[in-house]
Symmetry: C2
Subunit: 527 residues, 2 copies
């Protein structure tokens, strides 16, 4: 049995406190020492990726202490319990089974009387068969014409992950001739969202996927109404254009209003559902089931690495340990995620949810308050764009913001131009390499406005190319990292009680059952 303990009760955590300030990047990253660190501080990942932490504020002494922390916190054993089906999500009394969507990491997991790996795999197979029929023109609109667009209607986890991965692979798929259908996304209850998206959609040739685990998400049901309205106004049979992704017990299951329904369940949190039918339906329709399968293979391979007990060979665990060190020992409250890949433009927004919703908690998994900070703020935009924007503060602001870069040797389309002796891809990568050194080493100047203090930590994940496998490995890495952070902080990373109060109060406004400030705020909107 594992022991769930608060971070500050662990001896190895206390031992880490002494190391605060012992590594100055301006010193260790200079000269030959810096070169040696870059060669040495790297771990292979799946999908052709690798994780590099030379520019983090660690050295062999700290890494040894972090390894001791991993052991004392029983990180590996906790993950093992999770994937073997323990009820890790205590608050909601649920298993945490999203890893089973991409492979069988451990023992057979039975729940609700079924083998859950078989259940998730079965849904993938159903989706694949359906998508193949759509692509082959066997499932068509009322006129027998092929569908060319798929529109996902969902919010939060039913939107951010699938959208980020669609954007991540759209260019790749177009280049590799596997872009079967264009995908669009409707999420916000703001009516300008569905109206704006529908303006660009030929509804006659569009399939709409309504995604809600409970089948009761108000935003999603409202947007479904918008779409039904548009289909009806176009004289189309709504049930020929709508799919459902939901749980088997929801009101959306076995509803004749949908052309087909695909299922997930309560053991997969929204923010971890990209690998389930939530991402599977839209991504399989957009790219073909083989591409989605490759993406899952990348996830599964990274999951295996994440299950290893040596943090020096387990990038997700190591990344989590270093980030908790930065948060709780060095005292940095924010991390920037900076992919040098335009395809990953919405990847930071997805990881922002995955991290902040998982670990933004003030009580531990037993409901007790803790004496340390937990989940960090995550934000980010693609480079080099960010360099011309908020990097000013990252370089010369008064706060230190740890950075996580992502980069690829090759572009997705491999088409390029040479200007001033180098390709765009080379320029892109020259920039990310330069940034890591600039942040770590800084620069003195007799003009104080041109000084860079340096000593600003960063890591980078480098891949050969953002393929479906690499994309899957990248996502699994972060999912597992956030899980390990949660284990270290001793929080339940799989509930989200913090979203409830707003819902309750919003319903009071809609029911005109308000008083005090709530009544006045509502009145400002004429409600």
């Amino acid at each position: 049995m594992v022991a769930w303990k608060n971070l500050d009760t662990l001896d190895s955590y206390q031992a880490l406190q002494e190391t605060k300030g012992s590594v100055k990047l301006t010193e260790v990253m200079a000269g030959e020492s810096g070169a040696e660190r870059v060669r040495k501080y790297a771990v292979p990942m799946a999908g052709g990726l690798s994780y590099h932490y030379a520019a983090k504020k660690v050295d062999d002494v700290i890494l040894e202490k972090l390894a001791a922390l991993a052991k004392e916190a029983q990180l590996c054993e906790k993950f093992e319990e999770l994937y073997n089906g323990a009820v890790i999500n205590l608050t909601e009394n649920r298993h945490v089974l999203h890893h089973l969507c991409r492979g069988q990491l451990g023992k057979q997991v039975m729940a609700d009387g079924v083998d859950k790996r078989e259940f998730y795999k079965g849904e993938q197979d159903k989706i694949a068969a359906f998508a193949n029929k759509v692509h082959a023109g066997e499932i068509t609109n009322e006129k027998g014409e092929k569908f060319n667009t798929v529109v996902q209607i969902g919010i939060g986890g039913s939107d951010l992950g699938p959208r980020a991965i669609y954007l991540a692979l759209e260019n790749w798929a177009a280049t590799h001739n596997t872009l079967k259908m264009e995908a669009k996304f409707i999420s916000n209850v703001d009516p300008d969202d569905p109206v704006g998206v529908l303006r660009g959609v030929d509804v006659e040739h569009a399939l709409f996927i309504v995604v809600s685990k409970s089948g009761t998400t108000l935003e999603t049901l409202t947007n479904e109404s918008f779409v039904k309205d548009a289909l009806e106004k176009a004289g189309l049979d709504v049930s020929k254009h709508m799919l459902a992704v939901t749980s088997e017990t929801s009101p959306m299951a076995k509803n004749s209003g949908y052309l087909a329904a695909f299922f997930m369940d309560d053991y997969i949190g929204g923010r971890y559902s990209t690998a389930s039918a939530v991402g599977g339906a839209v991504l399989s329709l957009a790219f073909g089931p083989e591409v989605f399968a490759s993406f899952l293979d990348g996830m599964a391979a990274e999951d295996k690495l994440s299950a290893g007990d040596d943090p020096m060979k387990n990038p997700a665990m190591l990344d989590a340990l270093i980030s908790v060190y930065e948060r709780n020992v060095l005292g940095y409250p924010v991390t920037a995620l900076l992919p040098y890949s335009q395809a990953l433009s919405r990847f930071p927004a997805h990881l922002q949810q995955a991290s902040m919703e998982s670990n933004g908690k003030s009580v531990n998994r037993f409901g007790e308050s803790m004496n340390y900070v937990t989940g960090e703020v995550i934000f980010g935009e693609p480079g080099t764009n960010g360099q011309h924007s908020f990097y000013q503060l990252l370089h010369q602001g008064t706060d230190i913001i740890p950075l996580q870069f992502i980069g690829f040797r090759k572009s997705q389309n491999e088409k390029d131009v040479e200007v001033k002796g180098s390709t765009s891809q080379t320029k892109l990568n020259a920039n990310v390499a330069a940034q890591m050194v600039a942040f770590a080493c800084g620069k003195t100047d007799e003009n104080p406005a041109k000084c860079f203090a340096g000593d600003r930590p960063s890591s980078i994940i480098i891949g050969d190319q953002l393929t479906p496998e690499a994309c899957g490995a990248l996502l699994a890495h972060y999912e597992n990292k956030f899980m390990y952070q949660g284990f270290l902080w001793n929080v339940n990373s799989f509930d989200q009680e913090g979203v409830q109060l707003g819902k309750v109060l919003a319903n009071r406004v809609l029911d005109h059952n308000t008083d005090g400030a709530l009544k006045e705020f509502a009145a400002l909107f004429g409600i």
Copy 2:
């Protein structure tokens, strides 16, 4: 003459320190006290907007001290110096004249031998005349066919602001039949950006605007090459499809390779250039010059309000004072910007640049280091989407993140559906009202995981509808807020020395002139 002093040398700032912790939102926002605060703590803005700060940690005592701070820091006088043409940007020895793009706030400003208001207005008129000819089919492609798409090629300030405003008004323009041309944007040096954008563009009917003040921005020139390549491959005359927005002294000016050139100058920083030709060309082509003129009118009206000396009637000044209070007295390092409007999806990314690049500085305007923190981290996503994502941490995380909401009584398209007795727009607004109360008041519960500590401050800007005027007023508000924050912190908000080191090191990589860690990082990418 104004006196530029460090924040911590001001008596009124020291007086504010005593008030720390004196306002508990869980108390003052409860019951009738909360209702009264909502009615009382509001200031009108231009464009039908108003700023509401009832849920900020202020009361009459603190507001009085903030007003004293505004006076002692000579905020109003400093803005007056700025718009009257003083060389506010000391590091670069430049005037700061972006306000002149939208109106003449003060005295005539002469620079480089010309009246700068006339210069900026003249460029707007040139752009308007050009855009009208394009829309009328008087300027066409080689076949005499109308252009239907405009593509902006720029990065940083030449991208984020114009893109955010295009997205903000695209739906509105479509609804009001003023959407003349679709706009797209290419920014990143990642070759997947131009390739991906060009895949969706019919280049034969597209105009491309190359935007670079210096005419030497490497990303932008590289992407220009991509586009020229595409035009040439399509057998088109490049010079019939390309426009330039640059300064009169740049290599791009008076270049016969462009169909037309429009000018700005060194007195307008990139992040403040949306009102100049940088935003003017693409937005006038997309929406028609009248819509862009309305947007500028909204900015001008808000600028006038921002110039007032009473912070209780000057929303930009008040917003800045409260945010500096949060940053330097209450100690909050991050602010979330949360528009309840899908149209404002990229507005937070633009303000992230405008704020973080302006005020992320460690030395004051005279190059001296300070004993207080400056620029904050800004991030945000539209609501209600964010509610299903990172709000968990905002509600129940261990750190307090101040919030800035934006909302509108009416949607842009005014098309809506009623589900469960309310429209989508009402649901959207019920949610934002509910969130403000949830964050301020919290909720106790016998289950600690369901407890909300509350006391989390927020403000909101509410408008009737996101029209061009409202959009302009909103942008000017934030630009002026960041300026006032910079005055309070005594930093130069108009330079960006922090972006230089990365450029220098990137060029060393491209020149293969590297050693140490830089050489090794470059080698990881095969450079």
